[in-house]
Structures are given as structure tokens and as C-alpha cells.
Amino acid sequence: MVASLLRVMALIRKELLAVLKDARTRNMLLLQPVLQCLLFGYAATLDLSNVPYAAFDRDRSTASSALLAKLDGSGVFHRIANLTDAADMQRLIDAQKVLVVIQIDPNFQRQLSVGEDAAVQVIADGRNSNTAGAALGYVNAAVESFNADWRGDHGLPPPPVQVNARAWYNANLETRWNLIPALVGTITMMSTMMLAALSVAREREEGTFDQLLVTPFTPVEIMAGKAIPAMLIGVVQATNALLVAQFWFRIPFAGSYVTLYVGLILFLLAAVGIGLFVSSIAATMQQAMLYAFVTIMPFALLSGLTTPISSMPPIIQDFTLINPLRYAIDLVHRVYLEGAGLDRLVPDLWPMAIIAAVTLGAAAWMFRNRLE
């Protein structure tokens, strides 16, 4: 038992040395999570700012100016043109100079004054319907705010039914709060899977695997010696990403670290299991890398990272049940933002445990039977 542990320790040490020795690889593994978090944190946002828009104010009244002032003051919109000709509208949108054109009808103020509804036309560039949808949401909010002011200024009662909206866990609905914790899972999965897949394939390709097999190592020891270093690196990467989330983006951490790391370790076990399984099939490093890439792609895209799982067709939703990343992202969100405890995380924990058990078992079986 002691001898076995010592052997596994030696293998872990060797794996870590081999991976971390090369400065290029080391930087790629340890800095990459930080850089990706920073890049994604800033680039991957659905929260708009600086949206260029054009105003086509055909009313030129105090009311229309007040409405446009609301937009200008929102911090989201940035007026780059005041149009006088409807044809310009087409030109600016086609050339992607503006995302939105606000057109205010000539009788805007008069209609409001007599208690009629007055139309504000919002024309958005739908080439990226996502952005356009978000921009329309902001315009709506600005118009609501204008309406409230107008009522106040003209002594009108508030609307009969008010909606008091409150968002739990992420009061300002910042995309970043959603994305960065999700990246913790995604980045670590990519690296640990690749590492696990490549470590065995590299040994196979370089002929060292045979050398390893003629030593007293048992297949289980080899598996452990391959899985643990990849998981250790995964834990360090996750920690780096968490540090960026907390200390750079200042996203408040609501849960317990112990819970988070317990969940992450279970997840890493599943990711490493998949990686080792991939490597047990692959004959060369190139194959291992490609198979891993082909596996990671759907896992990352169908994890809820970029698009909500509930919007996917049922059959694809069923597929996501075998995707450990799906559970990991949910888990990190819920621990990080909601502060959920282990009891509430059981629905995420057991599927990952099953995936880990199945893939590690299958990899062990493949190693035993494919040592030919």
C-alpha cells in the first residue's frame, strides 16, 4: 500500500515536472485562465454601452427633446446624428454607423398634451438580433422613465398597476456576473481534458508508455498518477479564475469555498475521466488532441455558457444531461452567486459523480484491454 502510494506520488511529480517545466506550457496553463477571464469579462457582454444612435426628431418640441435627453443621459446611447431626411435613416443603418434610429412623430407633444398616446418609432439593426433586442429594452426603459417624469410634471396619477421587479443574486443583471463564474468551469474543463488526453497519448507516441508498463506500476496506479496532476492543475486554474472574478471584477462571493471546491473536484474528476477515455482510444497525440477538441466543442456550446439550455430543443436538452460542464456551470453559479450549500447542490453532484465513475471505469478497462 505504502509502496503503491509512493509510486503514484512519483508519477504525479513526474507529470507535473514534465508539464510545468516548459515555460510556454506553464504560462499557457496558468495565465490563460486569467487572460481569458479578462478578455471574456470585457468582450463577452450583452450589456450595452456606447450604442451609436441617430435621432430623427420631427416634432422638435420640449417633450421630444426631453425624451431624447433621457436616452442621451442613460449612459447606454450615444447620439451621433440628428437626421432631417428619412433617407438618411436607411443609409446610416445599412452602413452600420448606428444601431438604432429613434423617430419621433411631428405631433408628439401635442398628442401627449391632449392625453393621447404618442408613438416613438424605434428602428433597430437586426443583423445581430441579440444586440438589437437588448438595445430595444434600454429604449423602452428610457421611454418608461420619460413617461413617469411627464406624469409627475403634469400632475397625473401613476399607472394603476405597477410592476416592482427585483432580481435576486445579480441585482443589476450584469452579464459578467453570469459569465465569469461559468468560465471557471469551462476553462478548467478544456485544460484538464486536454492534459489528461495528451499525457497518455504523448507517452504512447514517445514510447515511454511501454517503459512505464514494464515497471511495477499497476494500471490503477498509472490512471491515478495521470488523473491527479491534471486535476491539480485544474484546481489551480479554477482558483486563478476565481481570483480574477473576485478581485478584478469585484463579483461578490456568496457561498462557501469548501462547497465550491468539493463540487469542482467532482467535476474535474469527470473531465479527467473523459480525457483519459479519449486518450485510451487515441493512438497518437494528434488524434488525442482532435478527439478531445471534437468532444469539448459540443460540451462547451451546449453547457448553458453562451445560450440557455431551456431554449434548446428537447432532444438536445437530453444530450446535455451527459455533459459535466452543464452541472459544473450551474454549480459554480449557485455556490458563487446564490451561496447554495451542498444540500441544494445534490442535483448537480450526483450526475457528475456518475459521469466520473463511468468514464474512469471505461478508461481503466480500455487501458487493460488495449495494451496490445
Binding site: 468582450a43 408613438a119 443583423r127 443583471l173 471534437v294 431551456s310 446564490e338
Partner: protein, 392 residues
């Protein structure tokens, strides 16, 4: 690329050097083609991945919010309150769970079974009649996008319900007053279908994958396996080797483009409003940029593993993140926006989105295409400089 090679001095290079050149290029292209067909890894990048991406993007991914699970707490059913609850139930956006107790709704929310709660309190009917009713809306803010949509939809559903009319009926119409009403027009994508912009983005990803990733792997492989060493000591010229590496992957990229166009049109019904000719032309430019990038990376690194990693980080990731394909570049910090100008995919995304949804808008096409052409020329020139028939 030089038009004619300096005539080799040997006995056989004397006649028709151009014909010999053409024959060498053709032989190398044929070799490359055979390798793509026979090597499973080339097949995986060139065929399996593109098809998988098409299916994932076309069917799996959707930014449109649908079937969001919410709880509607109907403490005391009343006609007004029930009407609001029913409007949630009928909406395709929500999977509505109606419960009489807020405590139960909160349990559902805590366990992650619902993403939002609409609370219609017991005094809703009475206060609505008085004109000061309120609806509590609690959303799980983790996915801000979904949360915003729930808020917007809930607001609209309530506003449109009979409540407002009922309230207005009691008071003096003029006292309630008019308000500014937003009339939306979403140009180019009136259906708000996220596939409309995902599919053009998909083309960028696939062309990047085939053009850069695959090319970088196959060139690095020749260095690694030592096949270049024997090939170099033949009359073959550097430009011939480069052409023979560009042409097959260029063609494969065009096949990928066709595949995407066909699935966009026939599987996903995404409209294409530009001209196919223009699309082909600008795609060729971007494909050239990608292939040249792949060649440059692999000629510099000469290792499959490093080349693939660098290609992913330098081309694939930016094409996904910094091209404006999913995330709008107008909202990112200045530094990142400046970086995005260095990403060729950005210009291609702009071209594709315009051509698919707006048509041949020359004011967009010409500048973007010009930039791509310049980048392609620069990358090819750099590749030509870096690639040498030398092992040094």
C-alpha cells in the same frame, strides 16, 4: 509569387520550365488531396467538425429565450389576477407553474426549478380597482439576459391586461393621460430569430477552422515527419510548395462555405439578401487570410501541437469572441475594441451579416473587403518570407 522559375541548368529543366512547374504543383495538390481523404484527422477537422458545428449552431444553440420556468403566485384567484396568470401560461416564453403560496415559489426558486416569480398578492383585485395595485416580480438575476426578458415580458403582459382598461374606466380619461409608446421595428430580422446572426457567424468559424487550423496542422506535420527534407532537395520551388498547400484547403474551405450556405438556406431558412457572387468573392479573401495565417504559424513553429494551440488562440478564439459575431463590439472597452480591429474575422463577420440580412450594401462591402484584401496580401507575403527550403 513569381511567374516563372529561373530555368534550372540541368539537362531536363531546359524545355518548358512553366510546364514542369505546373506539373509539380499539380502533383503536390493531388498528393495533398489524397492525404485529406485518407488521414482520419484531416477528415475530422475538414468534415466532421464543420457538420457538427452546423448542427449545433443551427439546432442546439439559440439565444432566443423560450420555455423559461417561472412560478406565478396566485394567492387569491380573481378575474384580473387569473387573467394575468393565464397570459403567462399561454406564452411560449414561459413554462408556468401556478401556486397559491409564496413560500412554495421561493422553495422552487432556491432549488433552481424556476427562474422567476410573479407574485399576485391577495389584495390585488381590490387595489387594482383603486388604481394602485402592484405586482411583485422576482427574477433569478444570474442570467441577466433571461432575467431582462422575463421583466420585459411580465411588464408587457400586465400592461396589456384588462387591468389598465378597468382602472381607466373608473377615472377621467384625461386625468390618466397619454404616454409615449414605443413602436419597434427590427430591420433585417423582424422575426427576432437568433439563427439569423448565428449562421453567418458559423460560416466564419468553419472557414477559420478549415483555413487556419487544418492548414497549420498539415504543414507542421510535414516538418515533424521529416517529409519536407526529402521534398526540398528536388527541383520544387518554395512558391510551388506554398501554392500546393493553399489550393486544396482553399477549395475545402469553399466546400465548407457551400455546405453552410446550403444548410442556412434549406435547413434553417435564413434569408440571404446579397448576391452569391459577392459572397464568394469576399469569402475567398477571408479564406486566403486564414490559410496564410495557418501557413505562417506552422512554418514558424514546425510542431503540430504548438501550431494547433497557437492557431486556436490566435484565430479561432478571436473569431468567436472579438469579431462581433455574438457580442457587440460597440459595447466593449476601448482597449478591446482596438484589439478587435486587428482581428480579420471582424471584417468578415461584418460583411456576412450585411450580405445575409441587408443585401449588397457597397458602403459596407467595399471598405471591409479592401481591408481583407490587404491583410491577405500581407499574410501571404510574410508566409513567403518565412518559408524557406532550409532546415536551419
Amino acid at each position: 509569387m513569381t511567374a516563372t522559375a529561373p530555368s534550372p541548368r540541368g539537362s531536363q529543366g531546359r524545355f518548358a520550365p512553366l510546364a514542369a512547374k505546373a506539373r509539380r504543383i499539380w502533383a503536390l495538390i493531388r498528393k495533398e488531396g489524397r492525404q485529406v481523404v485518407r488521414d482520419p484527422s484531416s477528415f475530422a477537422i475538414g468534415v466532421v467538425l464543420p457538420v457538427m458545428l452546423i448542427l449545433l449552431f443551427g439546432y442546439g444553440m439559440s439565444l432566443d429565450v423560450k420555455h423559461v420556468p417561472i412560478a406565478v403566485v396566485l394567492e387569491v384567484p380573481s378575474p384580473d389576477a387569473s387573467e394575468i396568470a393565464a397570459s403567462f401560461q399561454l406564452s411560449p416564453y414561459f413554462e408556468t407553474h401556478i401556486t397559491p403560496s409564496m413560500a412554495e415559489a421561493q422553495t422552487l426558486m432556491l432549488s433552481g426549478k424556476v427562474d422567476g416569480i410573479v407574485l399576485l398578492q391577495s389584495d390585488f383585485a381590490r387595489r387594482a380597482a383603486q388604481g394602485d395595485a402592484s405586482v411583485q416580480l422576482v427574477v433569478n438575476g444570474i442570467d441577466g439576459n433571461t432575467a431582462r426578458i422575463i421583466e420585459a415580458y411580465a411588464g408587457a403582459a400586465i400592461a396589456q391586461s384588462g387591468v389598465r382598461v378597468a382602472a381607466e374606466g373608473q377615472g377621467d380619461g384625461a386625468a390618466v393621460g397619454g404616454q409615449a409608446v414605443v413602436e419597434n421595428q427590427l430591420w433585417f430580422n423582424s422575426a427576432y430569430d437568433s439563427r439569423y446572426f448565428l449562421v453567418p457567424g458559423l460560416i466564419v468559424l468553419i472557414i477559420t477552422l478549415i483555413g487556419a487550423f487544418m492548414t497549420s496542422m498539415v504543414v507542421a506535420r510535414e516538418w515533424e515527419r521529416g517529409t519536407f527534407e526529402a521534398l526540398f532537395v528536388t527541383p520544387v520551388r518554395t512558391d510551388e510548395i506554398l501554392i500546393s498547400k493553399i489550393v486544396p484547403y482553399f477549395l475545402l474551405g469553399m466546400v465548407g462555405l457551400l455546405l453552410c450556405m446550403a444548410s442556412a438556406r434549406f435547413l434553417f431558412g435564413v434569408p440571404f439578401r446579397g448576391s452569391f457572387l459577392t459572397l464568394t468573392a469576399v469569402s475567398m479573401l477571408y479564406l486566403l487570410v486564414s490559410v496564410a495565417t495557418g501557413l505562417l504559424i506552422s512554418s514558424t513553429l514546425k510542431s503540430q501541437f504548438l501550431a494547433s494551440q497557437v492557431t486556436l488562440v490566435a484565430t479561432f478564439m478571436p473569431a468567436m469572441m472579438l469579431s462581433g459575431f455574438i457580442y457587440d463590439l460597440r459595447s466593449v472597452p476601448l482597449a478591446i475594441r482596438l484589439v478587435s480591429y486587428l482581428v480579420p474575422a471582424r471584417y468578415y463577420v461584418s460583411l456576412l451579416q450585411t450580405m445575409f440580412l441587408a443585401g449588397d450594401v457597397w458602403s459596407v462591402i467595399l471598405p471591409n473587403a479592401a481591408i481583407l484584401a490587404v491583410v491577405a496580401a500581407v499574410m501571404l507575403a510574410l508566409t513567403r518570407r518565412v518559408t524557406r527550403k532550409s532546415l536551419g
